[in-house]
């Protein structure tokens, strides 16, 4: 146990000595997450609407007045449909509305009226949401008397606050990225400098050295997580924490080890820092993008769904979202703990065999 702390504290000292590295970690767990949370927006915002009004005003202007900040910029008038199309082609306008000359007339006569809408579908998600919005405005406007009451509950995140969600996703990706890279680098640096040979010759079980070294990096990352939770996630973005804080920390710790295991694996099969960088990119990109952070697992193609089973990040993301938003009970979290732990154990087993022994 003493050897464990010797190695552990030595790694922490080394880390603290590298001021640029400390700066990068601090940045990653504070400013970077803040930027991601504040800056990434998938909801429509400032959507530019253009319109051609041949109907003479009145009704058309009433409809247009429903488009307002922050979702929409005040609609811009265009003289002809051609001018409007040109604006859409040049990406100056995302959605175009065309009020035909008989638009108001027909409506007042209680005839069926048509409103033409042009959409730049290259920005599919904004366009779709804008269209849905438009539907709602029109429905609202018509005040059709449907005897239905839709009692809608958005669970766990009533305000559909995107900022907190993006910040959390970024935090989870950051944990992965840093645990893998930091761990891989501490091992490969020893290999490159030749100190690893000396460590193997010490009268200490190499497994303990490996565990202590990775534990130190997991500790650094965990400290970063606490920082991020305290300064950004729970405070600035007011992310709800519906589940238990300690469940999250435990899951993070297990996941930290699991991804440190990936780092160990990467270090074990690479010769130098450069190879570590290349391999990490190749391994981590699929890991992050197939984790369900961007697209839920069930919406992916079946092959990717199967592949995602071996990604510890998959369990971590689903588990963390459950803890933060869904407030899931501990029993229901067990599969996530299990998945993360199992993958971690396998990776360490490989690492021990590959670099943790003498002949």
């Amino acid at each position: 146990m003493k050897s464990f702390f010797t190695v552990f504290s030595k790694e922490i000292i080394s880390f603290m000595r590298s001021i640029p590295l400390v700066a990068v970690i601090l940045y990653s767990f504070t400013a970077d997450i803040y930027i991601a949370g504040a800056g990434m927006q998938i909801k429509p915002r400032n959507v530019v609407i253009g319109y051609v009004d041949n109907s003479g005003g009145g009704l058309s202007q009433k409809i247009l007045s429903h488009f307002h900040q922050p979702e929409f910029v005040t609609p811009k008038p265009y003289l002809s449909q051609k001018a409007l199309s040109r604006a859409i082609f040049n990406k100056e306008v995302l959605v175009g509305l065309i009020f035909n000359s008989d638009f108001e007339k027909k409506y007042k006569k209680h005839e069926d009226t048509q409103l033409d809408v042009l959409i730049d579908a290259t920005a599919a998600s904004q366009s779709l949401t804008t269209l849905a919005y438009l539907h709602n405005i029109i429905l609202d406007f018509e005040k059709v008397d449907i005897p239905l009451k839709l009692q809608s509950h958005k669970l766990f995140n009533q305000n559909a606050d995107n900022h907190s969600f993006m910040a959390l996703t970024e935090l989870l990706s950051m944990i992965t990225l840093l645990s893998v890279i930091l761990t891989a680098i501490v091992f490969v640096k020893e290999k490159e400098d030749g100190t690893w040979d000396l460590m193997l010759l010490m009268p200490v079980n190499p497994k303990i050295i490996i565990l202590a070294k990775s534990a130190s990096q997991v500790f650094i990352v965990t400290a970063g997580v606490v920082l991020a939770l305290g300064f950004v996630i729970l405070t600035t973005f007011n992310t709800p924490l519906n589940g238990s804080f300690w469940s999250f920390m435990l899951l993070t710790l297990l996941y930290g080890f699991s991804s440190a295991g990936i780092g160990l694996f990467v270090a074990a099969i690479s010769k130098d820092v450069m190879q570590v960088a290349q391999l990490s990119i190749v391994i981590m990109m699929p890991l992050i993008f197939l984790s369900g952070a961007w697209t839920p697992i069930y919406a992916m193609s079946p092959v990717f769904q199967k592949l995602s089973l071996i990604s510890p990040l998959r369990y971590y993301i689903e588990g963390s979202e459950s803890i933060f938003y869904r407030g899931t009970a501990f029993v229901d979290l067990l599969p996530y703990f299990g998945g993360v732990t199992l993958l971690g154990v396998l990776l360490y087993w490989y690492g021990f065999r590959k670099i943790g022994r003498l002949f």
């Binding site: 400098d193 460590m199 010490m202 009268p203």
Partner: protein
């Protein structure tokens, strides 16, 4: 005016001045040797003359004067620079042949018959003719250096600048390198500036410049320099005196001594200079071991040890025995299998064939090594230390890993720091220290747990003369006081003579194993150990 005139040249690195207002001159066909400790300013001067670093002062070459790298561009076709570092300018994944083509192409040499003949000659002289298809990354250190040298010679430079071209190179390759150099300067009238850590080599140069702290403090031919220190060189004194440095059969003193004079060597230059700077070489005192253990008479017994790398046999059925309290030198050309052998002993490489017993215990698997770990010390080729921790922290870390109680560890560290002479550097980082200091503190790290046996892999490469002298004093004291056994590899043939017994490896096979005295007896013509070494290697190439 000489062909090459350097006047008042200074080079600054950040805040440090590497070279202080140095002047020198040389004529066609001259070989000028640069010698001096690490960081004495040799490399900086070479970089400045080659026009790859900003400098103050002037260099004029055959009437053309330049003050900056930009102005030097004009004569770069005439210049060749081989910077310090084994294989530094080579591309690992290109073959020997491809290197020659590449260097010819970027120098825009017409590949006519005359050039091809010259290229063949260079290949032949360097002994690389058979290896033209081999990738540079797979060459041994000596071959890399030779390849770098012939690449530098390809465009027939008139000004050749070679920065330690022979460091880490085995004696045989060194000799070949020298032959190439000597032939070229005669044929091409090339001016060669060469820095070296081997004094036998420096002795062959036309003029030698001794550098210290960025200045040239002595210069002249070998004979002139030796004459200059003759008055201060005596036969070794028995007892220690503060104003006298004694090393390897000679004592040096500025004040006259009541002792027999001795014929000086170039190495003496360093000791005399140290004395002039009021530096002395205090004798190494090693305290007794804290715990005494009984030691088996045979420390290490290797029988038929063999290692394959693919089809290549790195070590071919080697039998070596290391006895108690013995210093065994393991010598051989680059790539002869020395490092591989040591790594097998330590368990860092798998033993493919053969049997090994360490400290009387047969090694069958890694488990057999567990209890031996605390009895073995190891220093690797590159003094593997943690560069982000101070000397003190490094040592405490190693002590902790060896499970030495802290108070005891601190005591030992303090003792070693004093005994091995790195006490003033305890709170510095390894990267800030001269190689010689790093080397001694690596030894300290390997001694903390008071091992019974030390394995040292080229601990002296690139280390300057004085530091090496101190290093060997330490080893001998350790043997004397602790009865420690040492297995050491080196490329300095003079160091072989400090060993009790030497083993010569050649292409993975053992070709000699005897005491130094016996080897001298077997080779009555040999003037130095280098001659004996060469006789084994030149015999059947």
């Amino acid at each position: 005016m000489a062909d090459l005139e350097v006047s008042n040249l200074s080079v600054h690195y950040k805040k440090l001045t590497a070279t202080h207002s140095v002047s020198l001159s040389a004529n066609s066909g001259d070989i000028i040797g640069f010698i001096g400790a690490d960081g004495a300013g040799k490399s900086s001067l070479m970089h400045a003359i080659a026009g790859v670093i900003h400098f103050e002062g002037t260099v004029s070459y055959k009437g053309y004067t330049y003050h900056s790298p930009q102005e030097c561009e004009k004569i770069k076709p005439e210049i060749s620079l081989m910077p310090q570092g084994i294989g530094l300018v080579l591309y690992d994944t290109l073959s020997v042949e491809e290197h020659l083509e590449f260097f010819a192409d970027i120098r825009d040499i017409k590949q006519d018959e005359k050039f091809l003949a010259y290229k063949e000659k260079l290949l032949h002289m360097s002994g690389l003719s058979e290896f033209t298809k081999r990738l540079a990354g797979n060459l041994s250190g000596g071959m890399m250096q030779k390849l770098s040298l012939i690449c530098a010679l390809l465009h027939r430079p008139k000004l050749l600048i070679l920065d330690e071209p022979t460091t880490g190179v085995d004696p045989l390759s060194r000799l070949e390198l020298w032959d190439i150099l000597d032939a070229i300067r005669k044929e091409e009238g090339t001016i060669a500036l060469v820095s070296t850590a081997y004094m036998q080599e420096a002795a062959k140069m036309d003029k030698i410049l001794l550098f210290d702290e960025g200045k040239i403090i002595a210069q002249g031919s070998n004979a002139e320099l030796i004459d200059s220190i003759r008055p201060f060189t005596y036969q070794a004194l028995k007892e220690y005196r503060e104003d006298v440095i004694t090393f390897d059969k000679r004592s040096y003193s500025l004040a006259p001594l009541q002792a027999q004079v001795a014929e000086p060597t170039l190495e003496g230059l360093f000791f005399i200079n140290a004395l002039k700077n009021n530096k002395t070489l205090p004798p190494v005192e090693i305290g007794d071991k804290e715990q005494q253990e009984s030691v088996p008479p045979v420390i290490m017994q290797a029988k038929g040890l063999t290692k394959y790398f693919g089809d290549f046999i790195a070590d071919d059925h080697i039998d070596i025995e290391l006895k108690s309290a013995e210093i065994l030198g393991l010598l051989g050309a680059n790539g002869a299998g020395k490092t591989t052998f040591i790594k097998m002993l330590l368990g860092l490489y798998k033993i493919d064939e053969g049997s090994l017993s360490l400290l009387g215990k047969d090694i069958k698997s890694a488990d057999d090594r567990l209890e031996l770990k605390s009895k073995i010390g190891y220093v690797s080729q590159h003094f593997a230390l943690y560069n982000d921790m101070t000397v003190r922290e490094n040592l405490i870390y190693f002590a902790n890993m060896h499970k030495i109680p802290l108070d005891k560890a601190l005591q030992r560290i303090k003792k070693y720091a004093y005994e091995l002479g790195f006490a003033p550097y305890m709170d510095k980082f390894p990267t800030e220290l001269p190689l010689g200091v790093n080397q001694r503190f690596s030894i300290a790290a390997a001694l903390l747990h008071e091992p019974l046996v030390l394995f040292l892999d080229e601990p002296t490469s690139g280390v300057d003369t004085i530091a090496r002298a101190q290093f060997w004093q330490i080893l001998h004291k350790l043997k004397e006081k602790w009865g420690i056994s040492i297995l050491i590899t080196t490329h300095y043939m003079s160091e072989a003579e400090y060993c009790d017994r030497v083993v010569l490896l050649k292409r993975g096979k053992k070709i000699a194993d005897d005491t130094v005295a016996n080897l001298y007896k077997a080779h009555p013509d040999a003037k130095s150990f280098e001659d004996i070494f060469l006789s084994y290697f030149e015999a059947q190439i």
